[in-house]
Symmetry: C2
Subunit: 473 residues, 2 copies
């Protein structure tokens, strides 16, 4: 008996896929992913409908999803992130049920504890043997870590590995074991390598972003955490990368030997590992080819599951051991609540990813953001959507000054003593509004198009439908 | 909040250990294990009783268990193997409830599916960080793979890592993740390195054993399976090792490139890997230091869980991909049923381990055994205890000839064509009885002291209490 199905369609039939079921995907192939589209295309041929798609993230490459939503094939979405192309359409109200947004930590937790059951999980695997031992480290579509896929593979009723690189049994360096895999479907290509390592990972040259990065690095340095044993996470945006570069310079100058960096990993973080800044990288996903190669070849670069990264119900996680994390924001309000779900017009353009997870876990959670973007203030009176509650954010760094959460008085004193340009978040808001004007609240409908589930299991916010005249620009 | 308990006792208290619970252990430290004894000693101080011990194997080093049984601290045992010192006492009837014997594959399956719930699992870890990321690959008590401990750690209500080598967070090359670990208890020593790599792994010089080994290797060669892609498991007994040596010679002579060897791993198997006989070793436990070192340093030597090894409820396993396996027997009867649980006097002296698992999985399951041992026939009319049903055994190899299971007519023809000294198992029984006399059946009591659970979930046999006059010698 072989697990290798004659086609993707055959695998779907073998799984007993039926209308009303939940199917799941992970996003390590990012904007290069073909698997979600291919599966839904195959499902459409089978005349199945009313499916819920639980995908760890949804990218613009998944735009065909919109057609499947319109046709009633997909009626529900659970995810941690939706990029703007799909997000704006969902904001307009095309989906039958409200999207359930989670974080990268909460998603596997809810799958593992049965709160978010999955009927059929699809594992996009750059290498797999015929029994389903699979890995992202090798193959023409290599994407590195498969951290978000572990819970899906382990807890779905049926698990299908989709691969474009079938290797001899046993695949030695497996990330996901055959014991969880029902079927293996071989396709021509699971993704576009150009999109897998998408262009989010370029260092910024923008002077404002560089000023913010410099200040953020000085905040970390002044906090007292930047010493031997230091642990760190930063995002893949240009400013975040620049913070990493500044931290690297300080660490090398002072001979500081850090403990671990937590990834999402870029080549810049790999450079820090190789330069001796850290003992190891714990990695749930790779953002670029250098990270993919490092995970494959460097034993100090280690793959972890999303639960190991940040599950709120795991017995402990790497995120809880973080010293400092640098995060972005679409909006941050005067209570330090951060929005990375919607833009100022109320359109869905993102999601938590690991934002709320590492903010909750790290000793020092820094939001690094400019005062405004595209003439819209980022520091606002009230965030349109709360992704990450202000109580878990310690510092806001802007180009015009650093605001410390009043809950962190000791930290404020430390930063003041270091001569950092401290200010009040209210003043930053006023400054932002002074430059750009007070933003009008977008006019939104009454219908809830998405709900945001926080780490504690409660819904922390909901996102309302945008109206044809929501857009103020 | 730290997971590191002040002492083993503190960890037990923190787990809420109570009378009537099930506590579990794994046996990678083999006859050098201190952890089971230390835990029970600590439990005794807490005045707790009526515990069930679920240990993947019990060795002579665990003789203090007998005192805890007599005192009512331990009233139940679930295990895959009990070595003679403890086994004989249990045969005498000292334990309140019958032992439940499983196999290495069935034990994790029953833990994972909730049939055999564990309240508190103890993981003997040669290295651990303070959050419980742990490994057997390094440390003064290094034992290599921790394959049997995965299900315990993942599914027990509480998991305690017991270590004598606390390392900096994060332990990179972890086998068991912190997400499953509640507490870490640091002790002086978790085991005696001399006993961890116990003396089962020496090559035999006994001419009878060498004759059997040579015949067994010729059977494998003649079966048609010994070609490129060959996969193989052999035990750690002297004769089994000798079979491996013969197979190695044939493979090197003929330039055969095998696929994988499945371990329990000895240095001899590592030599075969290094000589290019196999692409990889999949390893659930290491028998000696050379295997430990290889697992640590050679990326082609890979740790797998006991479920990956042979769980009957896993979606597939390595055991199912085996071409040939060479197994031992205490008794084998004319229906090819094998007993490795009891000796001819009815005393418990072992257990399945992976015997029944790989017999069921492999294409060719060979039992290699002498006609008699210590003047007692091994080929008998009726096995005193059925460990492994005859329908899963293909060939019996003795020094006086090779008997093929009548279910395998095609195989019999192949072996006949190769000029192997084929005979009937009935004839081997007569020969054995002719040399040693017809063995008297031991007189046993009515009370069941152990039940043997087979891979299908049914009890395949039960073991009766021995009486003071059971012993016929």
């Amino acid at each position: 008996m072989t697990k290798v199905a004659a086609s993707l369609e055959e695998a779907l039939i073998a799984c007993g896929l039926k209308s009303g079921m939940v199917i799941s995907f992970h996003h390590h192939l990012r904007n290069g992913d073909y698997v979600l589209n291919k599966v839904l295309e195959a499902v459409a041929k089978l005349g199945i409908g009313d499916l819920t798609v639980n995908a760890s993230s949804i990218f613009d490459a998944h735009a065909p999803l919109l057609t499947h939503i319109k046709n009633g094939l997909v009626t529900g979405i659970e995810t941690n992130y939706i990029s703007p192309l799909v997000g704006r359409a969902i904001s307009g109200g095309i989906l039958k049920k409200p999207v359930i947004f989670r974080s990268h930590g909460t998603r596997p937790s809810d799958i593992e504890t049965g709160k978010s059951p999955v009927d059929v999980a699809f594992i996009a695997a750059p290498s797999s043997d015929k029994q389903g031992n699979c890995s992202g480290k090798t193959g023409k579509s290599a994407c590195g870590a498969l951290g978000y896929a572990f819970a899906d593979a382990m807890y779905a009723k049926k698990t299908v590995v989709v691969t474009d690189n079938l290797v001899e049994y046993p695949l030695r360096d497996f990330s996901i074991s055959e014991i969880y895999v029902d079927h293996v479907a071989v396709v021509d290509a699971i993704g576009d390598p150009q999109g897998i390592v998408s262009g989010t990972t370029r260092m910024t040259r923008d002077p404002v972003a560089l000023r913010i990065a410099d200040l953020a690095a000085r905040v970390i340095s002044a906090s007292g955490l930047l010493k031997d044993g230091f642990s760190f996470q930063t995002g893949a945006g240009g400013a975040s990368l620049a913070v990493g570069r500044s931290i690297q310079r300080i660490m090398l100058e002072k001979g500081i030997k850090g403990s671990f960096a937590l990834g999402g990993t870029t080549g810049y973080l790999v450079e820090m590992l190789e330069a001796g800044c850290f003992e190891s990288i714990l990695d749930v996903q790779c953002f670029d080819l250098k990270a993919v190669e490092s995970l494959h070849l460097n034993p100090r670069h280690v793959e972890i599951s999303a639960s190991h990264y940040a599950s709120p119900t795991a017995k402990s996680t790497a995120a809880q051991r973080l010293d400092a994390v640098v995060l972005g924001a679409t909006q941050i309000d005067v209570d330090f609540n951060v929005n990375v779900h919607t833009d100022s017009n109320g359109y869905i353009i993102g999601g938590s990813g690991g934002h709320s997870d590492v903010a909750a876990g790290a000793k020092l959670a820094i939001v690094a953001a400019p005062l405004s973007r595209a003439r819209l203030p980022i520091v606002v009176d009230r965030a349109l959507t709360i992704t990450t509650p202000g109580k878990t954010i310690d510092v806001l760094v802007t180009q015009c000054g650093v605001a410390v959460n009043p809950r962190q008085e000791e930290l404020r004193q430390r930063l003041a003593e270091s001569g950092l340009p401290l200010t009040d978040i209210e003043d930053l808001r006023k400054m932002a509004e002074g430059i750009n004007g007070v933003p009008q609240k977008p006019k939104l409908g009454d219908r809830v198009v998405a709900r945001v589930k926080y780490r504690d299991g409660a819904f922390i916010d909901e996102i309302l439908q945008t109206l044809p005249d929501s857009r103020r620009l």
